[in-house]
């Protein structure tokens, strides 16, 4: 699972829909892999507007990245290719292959195997 995707993912449990603690989900025992993908600056700029920067900082610190700026880049910074390439590397090329995503509200654990997260829930939680 890509770091980008986690920034949009919420807990699927019904009672977590409106809870602020349910976002972002937290990684546990994450094993990372790097995948080379073509740099697509237009896409990064498109997503930056929608990215929840605080959640992104939480996720990246859990995964051990320490160089994420405190503030979301805006304006002229969006034309800084070095910055966009760094974001491309973290958001799209960094993948969590094994581990869990854990909800901070209900503590439900979503397993990640071979990069695929299992979001199937028992019916009573839906």
């Amino acid at each position: 699972m890509k770091v980008l995707t986690v920034n949009f993912l919420t807990c699927a449990v019904k009672t977590c829909k409106t809870s602020p603690e349910a976002f972002p989900l937290h990684f546990r025992d994450a094993e990372l892999a790097q995948q080379d993908l073509e740099f697509n600056p237009e896409f990064i700029k498109n997503m930056l507007l929608r990215l929840d920067w605080n959640a992104f900082r939480v996720t990246t610190s859990e995964l051990g990245f320490s160089t994420i700026p405190a503030e979301k880049p805006e304006g002229d910074a969006l034309n800084d290719e070095t910055l966009l390439r760094d974001l491309h590397k973290v958001l799209l090329e960094t993948q969590v292959m094994e581990g869990k995503l854990v909800c901070g509200h209900c503590a439900h654990e979503y397993a990640i195997k071979e990069g695929i997260a299992n979001f199937l829930l028992p019916n009573h939680l839906v």
Partner: protein, 215 residues
């Protein structure tokens, strides 16, 4: 020809053998590709976009999304949801670029509001009408799916779902559930009245009603 929807739920129907058959049959691949291209045309995306593929299966559609050239507004990034672990396994082996989720769309769409620019679904949403147990109903599954999909799309976003309704009642039930969720909805039919007729449910968020039309 019997409909797979009438025999088993999708996670059981698309077992390892069926999943491989589905992905390697060149006839199925060609049909799937042409439906994906048609859906892309209807989505009319101008910029590299973040797309949800509902019922992504082995990633046949996703590969097309990843491969849209810059002069046609791509390439796009996609997230795929599918209930069949066997299908997702084939997607892994084929090394697709999208992010894959083992998930039941009838349980909802677990993404925060306004996540996606667009959504695409090829031959999947009629499965929502299968409810196997007493505590889930087709209506409940349709409501959770369309409600979640509506919320997860950004304002002005679109979803195009090619589907195979069993009959007119099912076609009505599905489109009515989409409208109840808040979508502007229209059904487009390609090659109507022929054996290769294809239905596309075209959904808009915060847009006007689309006219139902033949294609």
């Amino acid at each position: 020809m019997s409909r797979p929807e009438d025999s088993l739920p999708p996670d059981l129907f698309y077992n390892d053998l069926e999943s491989r058959k589905y992905t390697t049959s060149s006839r199925i691949r060609n049909i799937q590709a042409s439906m994906t291209n048609r859906a892309l045309e209807l989505l009319d995306l101008k910029h590299p976009s973040f797309i949800l593929d509902v019922g992504c299966g082995s990633g046949l559609s996703g590969e097309i999304l990843s491969g849209v050239p810059p002069e046609e507004g791509g390439p796009h990034e996609w997230v795929g949801m599918d209930i069949s672990a066997s299908m997702l396994d084939v997607a892994l082996q084929r090394d697709v670029e999208g992010d894959l989720f083992l998930a039941d769309i009838g349980q909802g769409v677990p993404f925060r509001p306004g996540s996606f620019d667009a959504a695409i679904s090829i031959s999947a949403i009629q499965w929502l009408c299968n409810a196997e147990s007493s505590d889930v109903s087709p209506e409940g599954r349709l409501t959770r799916f369309f409600g979640g999909l509506y919320a997860s799309l950004r304002r002005g976003g679109r979803a195009v779902c090619q589907f195979y309704p069993k009959n007119d009642a099912q076609r009505m039930m599905i489109s009515a559930a989409a409208v109840r969720a808040g979508f502007g909805a229209g059904i487009l039919e390609d090659d109507p009245g022929t054996k290769s007729a294809k239905l596309y449910l075209v959904l808009t968020v915060g847009g006007g009603e689309l006219e139902s039309q033949g294609g």
